[in-house]
């Protein structure tokens, strides 16, 4: 059975200046034990999608206005707050982008990890602290016995992210949502944290929903990739396939923007082609173009692209929402 099935999710923000459709009809699915990466630029709605799963979108102003999120066959949209709280931290764990601010400065590391076990497993504080120590060891924090009694300000960013991971996996959840887990970390620490996530996944067999804008992270960890742009999914494929044969012009643009460092390059970059960039800007959420949302920036845009949004259709072994790439291209009349 599919572990998590998001279908046509719409999460909108009701602000004074209008309705912002941060997530506008996104469908994703994750099988047990699978790692699905959701990539895209800042503001494409990938984090809001992740927050929607746990019902953590701040309301007001945000609200899920349509679609469904099924976890282990159970509908999460409209689930009573009490039932949702029972899932959070137990069946679904989450880690965040900013390890520096995601831990409470006034509580010890051990208490913050143990809290999950007290809440969901009925542990006493003493039992929870003992388990917290084991968890810290599991996420490779050195000297866990001492660390449980320490406050977060004593730990580096990388160590704090490990503490966050320990907290998220304390109840051995079936799904771990990782919202930009390595963005705030140094490159060397990033690799260690990704490595840790991979080993934890192997050990507990949990699925991971990985939200990131870093395609390097995706290549290293994900089984499948969904690319989001301006609140919609524009392409999805197995990781190797996506990197080898990107379909959507936006995905191609993203891949073209990754710098390559070749060790055997004697010119050390002097004669290499200039790094490409995607011209233009992401459209504002309250001023979406009527057709394909990428059309204003797309080098291959056709007249049809500006009239109606393209649907996701099979393309290159995955799916893509692009008139130019679809295996069964519709005629202009059909669209009109």
């Amino acid at each position: 059975m599919t572990l998590l099935a998001i279908d046509d999710l719409q999460t909108h923000f009701f602000t004074r200046s209008g309705i912002l459709k941060a997530v506008d009809g996104v469908s994703l699915s994750i099988e047990p034990g699978e790692v699905l990466a959701v990539v895209g630029e800042s503001g494409c709605g990938k984090s809001v999608t992740a927050f929607s799963v746990l019902g953590l979108v701040p309301n007001p102003p945000g609200r899920i206005v349509g679609g469904s999120i099924r976890f282990e066959g159970r509908e999460l949209v409209g689930l009573p707050a009490r039932d949702m709280r029972a899932l959070r931290g137990d069946r679904i764990g989450m880690i965040f982008q900013e390890p520096m601010t995601s831990l409470n400065p006034a509580l010890t590391v051990g208490d913050q990890i143990g809290e999950v076990l007290v809440r969901h497993r009925g542990f006493t504080r003493r039992q929870a602290l003992t388990r917290a120590e084991e968890l810290l060891d599991l996420v490779r924090v050195p000297d866990p016995r001492r660390r449980v009694t320490e406050y977060p300000h004593r730990l580096s960013g990388g160590m704090r992210q490990r503490v966050m991971i320990a907290m998220a996996i304390a109840c051995e959840p079936k799904l771990l949502i990782a919202d930009e887990p390595t963005t705030a970390l140094d490159v060397t620490v990033q690799a260690q944290v990704l490595d840790l996530l991979a080993s934890i996944r192997a050990r507990f067999g949990m699925a991971i929903l990985l939200i990131t804008h870093d395609l390097g992270v995706v290549a290293e960890t994900a089984d499948r990739v969904a690319v989001m742009y301006a609140g919609r999914k524009v392409e999805e494929a197995a990781t190797a396939r996506l990197f080898a044969d990107p379909q959507h012009p936006y995905t191609r643009g993203l891949l073209g923007a990754i710098p390559e460092v070749a060790d055997d390059d004697p010119a050390m970059g002097r004669d290499r082609p200039r790094l490409s960039e995607i011209p233009g800007m992401v459209p504002a959420l309250d001023a979406m173009p009527p057709g394909c949302r990428f059309a204003p920036r797309c080098p291959e845009a056709m007249p049809v692209c500006r009239t109606a949004p393209p649907a996701l259709r099979p393309a290159g072994g995955g799916v893509a929402a692009c008139y130019a790439r679809q295996d069964d291209r519709p005629s202009l009349e059909e669209v009109a």
Binding site: R88, A106, L107, H153
Partner: protein, 338 residues
């Protein structure tokens, strides 16, 4: 050496005692500077105790005035008086109140407990009630309850203290007859033990509530703002992602972090409250320092006034040390320097 050994023994039992001793030592120069400033400031004001006494006598001759002045040492040049004053302070001698014909220290110590009782009680009530109302308001932002709390709190903040005091007296003492109109104890009654405590508590109720109502608004508004700020912190989202209930998040994750500005305010207000109690002590005939200071000003009792100001500065300095200790207790990121 023995003193040293006993200090290190002390710090074994009370880890903060080193810090406190160092802070006390450092505050001695501050204390002396305050004393000198007070002295100069009061000397700049026209008139002294001799002028007032001579004026009250009605038919004072210049000779009588001169005799009074030389008796009080007021005929000396200002710098000599200052040197004399500082010299006395270093011997912990606060001087003699010519007006009350009593030692200044004894006079102050007699009145201080009443003021401390009123001050700590009022601040404590305002702090606890303000924190509770602030938490309540922050959980119902812009709702009816939030607005009600803001309006009521600001109403008491904007009303002059003496008006609130007189209003309470009219309602609870005159009409209902539940509480005494003023004073510290029932005149003529010599209660002991529990009866005495109840008697003082009944007398304390109205002045305490009057002072507390004034400060309540500040604490309630500050706590509300502080709570709202902390609720936006990332670690609150983390707590939600753990599946904790909003109540538990409020108590365990938000409250303690939101307390910091409250403690800062508390420290600042200890000084304000000593001044604010003058009005309340006068309205309720509360025999405290505030009224003593007022009387000292009116009778140009310079020694007494200087003594009161000095004791107040000691209270404020001690409050600041306590606030810093509270910071370190509330926020583990703050470490106290040796």
């Amino acid at each position: 050496m023995r003193g040293f050994a006993s200090i290190s023994a002390l710090s074994r039992h009370f880890p903060r005692s080193h810090y406190v001793l160092a802070r006390v030592a450092k505050s001695i120069p501050v204390f002396l500077a305050i004393a000198v400033c007070n002295f100069i400031l009061l000397k700049l004001a026209p008139g002294d105790a001799a002028d007032v006494l001579a004026g009250e006598a009605g038919s004072a001759t210049p000779e009588y005035l001169a005799a009074l002045k030389s008796q009080f040492g007021l005929d000396q040049p200002t710098w000599a008086q200052l040197a004399h004053y500082v010299g006395r302070l270093l011997r912990l001698d606060l001087g003699w109140s010519f007006r009350n014909n009593q030692g200044v220290l004894a006079l102050i110590l007699e009145r201080l407990p009443a003021t401390l009782l009123l001050m700590i009680g009022a601040l404590g009530l305002a702090f606890i009630l303000g924190a509770a109302l602030g938490v309540l308001a922050s959980r119902h932002v812009n709702g009816a309850l939030d607005n009600l709390i803001s309006v009521v709190a600001l109403l008491f903040y904007a009303t002059p203290l003496f008006l609130v005091g007189l209003g309470l007296i009219i309602v609870f003492a005159v009409h209902l007859g539940w509480l005494p109109t003023g004073g510290l104890t029932t005149v003529g009654a010599s209660y002991t033990g529990l009866r005495f405590a109840v008697d003082v508590a009944l007398h304390l109720a109205m002045p305490l509530v009057t002072l507390a109502l004034f400060f309540l608004a500040l604490y309630a508004r500050l706590m509300r703002a502080s709570m709202l700020e902390v609720f936006n912190q990332d670690y609150v989202t983390t707590a939600r992602a753990k599946g904790l209930s909003e109540g538990r998040i409020t108590v365990r994750h938000v409250l303690r972090n939101a307390m910091m500005p409250m403690v800062t305010m508390l420290g600042l207000q200890v000084g304000t409250l000593l001044g604010g109690s003058v009005v309340v002590e006068t309205v309720f005939a509360w025999p405290g320092i505030g009224r003593l200071a007022f009387e000292a000003v009116m009778s140009r009792d310079l020694n007494l006034l200087l003594g009161i100001l000095l004791i107040c500065s000691v209270v404020v300095i001690m409050a600041n040390i306590l606030v810093d200790l509270a910071y370190a207790w509330l926020d583990p990121r703050i470490e106290l320097a040796r």
